[in-house]
């Protein structure tokens, strides 16, 4: 019963880790994943993007056991 959480770029540096596992218990959506993984004291910057299983998603998207959730800043490729 776990969720894999990943952080990229400036958010990875701010949070201080690139990936971790959290328990899926009591975690209903992507916003809950942030709170469970990072803690309430560090709020996600306003432009933060999220992906569920490598697809962009909203913070209220439901999550479950085995999912991968990623948080990252606006993309700057190309």
């Amino acid at each position: 019963m776990s969720i894999h959480v990943r952080f990229f770029a400036s958010l990875r540096e701010r949070v201080g880790c690139g990936e971790l596992e959290i328990s899926a218990q009591g975690v209903a959506n992507v916003g809950d994943v942030w709170r469970a993984a990072v803690g309430a004291e560090l709020q996600a910057p306003p432009q933060t993007l999220a992906a569920l299983n490598m697809e962009y998603c909203a913070l209220d998207t439901p999550v479950g056991d085995g999912d991968e959730v990623a948080f990252f800043p606006p993309v700057t490729g190309g």
């Binding site: 990229f8 490598m54 697809e55 962009y56 990623a70 993309v75 700057t76 490729g77």
Partner: protein
């Protein structure tokens, strides 16, 4: 359709020539549109000596494949190629190459523009610039227009 990510140096012209020679049937296409993105040595008023390009392995390929598939639905194109670098990159080095082949110029040009704009808006890459004042993350891509 071919999508690739390279950590090593990228020669866009060699990629296009090799792909065209092995994957495109001579005589089948009348237009080839190409976009090459190259690293500049300046950004936001600062000299930039290098960038580190981070990406989200797995999601990057998925995102580029979705963008390419959408281009194929919108325009009558024969084939396309997208190669993007990641890792440590210095000024003058190509970062991305996009090539689109079609029967006529309109589809190739329009699809090529669409691919680079969608890539810059959605593909999960992030640039960290090294300047004389230290390293900084690029916060947003500039408008393509």
């Amino acid at each position: 359709m071919h999508i690739a990510l390279y950590e090593q140096e990228l020669d866009p012209w060699r990629e296009i020539t090799a792909y065209q020679a092995t994957r495109l049937k001579p005589g089948s296409y009348g237009a080839t549109a190409v976009f090459v993105g190259t690293m500049r040595d300046f950004h936001a008023g600062e000299h930039v000596s290098a960038i580190e390009l981070e990406h989200y392995p797995g999601m990057t390929e998925k995102s580029l494949a979705e963008i390419a598939a959408e281009a194929g639905r919108r325009w009558d194109i024969i084939d396309l190629l997208v190669v993007h670098r990641y890792g440590y990159i210095t000024p003058g080095a190509p970062i991305v190459v996009i090539a689109v082949w079609s029967a006529h110029r309109g589809a190739a040009n329009d699809a090529c523009r669409f691919l680079i704009e969608q890539l810059k808006a959605y593909a999960p890459f992030w640039k960290k610039e090294h300047t004389s004042k230290g390293a900084r993350w690029v916060e947003n891509n500039t408008s393509g227009h």
